[in-house]
């Protein structure tokens, strides 16, 4: 083999190797450009909800909240608008999963949470004021609001998709940390752990001394470690 053939063989092999390497890399299933959005959120299926604020061309323009809903392939499913929201100054997405979103919308006078069904169109399921409802997390059983009272205690409350209260307000240790996609939460404070179940209200499942240690969240297994004592819980 002369030098020319050897070089050609090397070049062919290199091209082939590059082709193999490139072939092994995955391509994105889709992409979305959310440039200009004031907020966006992915749900656990890869859908994207993006918010933007637009002005009409009129002299005294109403400032409208615009939504864009994309699937995981980046295909725009819809650009729904919400009737009645015409003087929006700011907005953010507190929660988005499948076709349910909770938006925090500010206009000149008020700040309100909107529970919204979104898709190719949108409808308002309910609203709540921030002095009544402070979003902490949400899941399939509703949204959990949590706030610190003036005496320093923490209060939690479940709300349904219309943002109506469900069950009683409960005194919890501190700000909740969600577990199992918002169907449970734990609070840990001052060597004490509480685990709460979110289901038609709040039920306390675990109350123990120690620190929370996650073991296996899908299987609802955790450990509460108090010094050298490890207590294993299957919270359900």
């Amino acid at each position: 083999m002369n030098a020319h053939s050897r070089n050609r063989l090397f070049a062919t092999t290199a091209v082939a190797l590059c082709a193999v390497a490139a072939y092994a890399l995955l391509e994105p299933s889709g992409q979305v450009d959310v440039t200009g959005s004031i907020d966006y959120r992915h749900d656990t299926l890869g859908n994207i909800l993006a918010l933007s604020i637009g002005k009409s061309a009129a002299k005294a323009p109403p400032i409208k909240l615009k939504m864009a809903y994309y699937d995981k392939k980046g295909v725009k499913i819809g650009e729904p608008s919400l009737g009645g929201l015409k003087t929006v100054t700011n907005a953010s997405i507190a929660y988005f999963e499948k076709s349910w979103a909770i938006l925090l919308v500010q206009d000149a006078d008020t700040t309100l949470y909107y529970s919204v069904k979104v898709g190719s169109s949108a409808s308002i399921l309910g609203t709540a004021a921030t002095n009544d409802f402070l979003f902490c997390f949400a899941g399939k059983n509703g949204a959990v609001s949590c706030s610190m009272a003036s005496n320093g205690t923490w209060l939690a409350q479940v709300y349904d998709k219309t943002l109506a209260r469900v069950g009683a307000t409960r005194l919890v240790l501190t700000n909740p940390a969600p577990l199992n996609a918002g169907t449970y939460f734990y609070c840990a404070h001052n060597n004490q752990v509480q685990i709460w179940r979110v289901k038609k209200g709040l039920d306390q499942a675990v109350n123990a001394n120690g620190q929370f240690v996650a073991i296996n969240e899908p299987k609802k297994l955790c450990c509460v470690q108090d010094g050298t004592t490890h207590a294993f819980y299957l919270y359900k």
Binding site: L26, Q31, D33, D43, L45, G46, K72, N216, T229, F232
Partner: protein, 236 residues
Amino acid sequence: MKRSTKRIAVAAAALTFVAVAALVPPMGTIDLVNYDDWYHDFGASTLAVQNLLSAGVITQSTLVVFDKKGVEKSRAVFTEAVGKDDVRISYFEKGWAILRVDGDTNIYYSVKVGRIITVLGTNTEYQMSFRFAGKAGVVSYFNATQQAQLFDKKLVPVGTPATLIDRPRGPINNSLNGGTFFYCEAGNQVQVWNVKKGLLLVIQDTGTWNLINEAKHLCCIEDDSTTDVHKLYTYK
């Protein structure tokens, strides 16, 4: 006691009973006060190591396995640790453990733990720097060279070393999906690697990492360096 007072007392007692009855008791408890290191696996079994020392040198090392109910399932002497300085548990899952035995040279032991201890293989910290382990084996990563390498349960290298852009990361134990994938990111670049008979680069893209749904292997790489583009990937 008046009838009405008695009724209130009975109702209060009933409410207290309901509140207590709703709490989930621990499946089991263990006190690890006499142990030097411990590791809970995903099934809530615990491996604990107890070292007896004389003048800073191990005279006896014992490996004890407890199940999720806190019941001691096995206890065995780890003779290889005698004469060394320390034994630490790097990983434990379903009876398989990676132990780091510190001495003049620190050595990793891959062991099957039970009523007897079976040493599956060893390697030195010069050859293997434990980062995480999973069903495909152990992933080693050296910061200085950015070299990663997969080792099997005998701690024998599998496949070729890979140069990463930064250390392997993931939400639990520095990896994704129970040690079958990991991501790394540096300088607005993201890599996702598959751990399977070696390390295979599956994603390389510009942006920052966002995990969307680990169970469904969904992630997003967000590049907002010029525009705000979200690229959705299913890593597999």
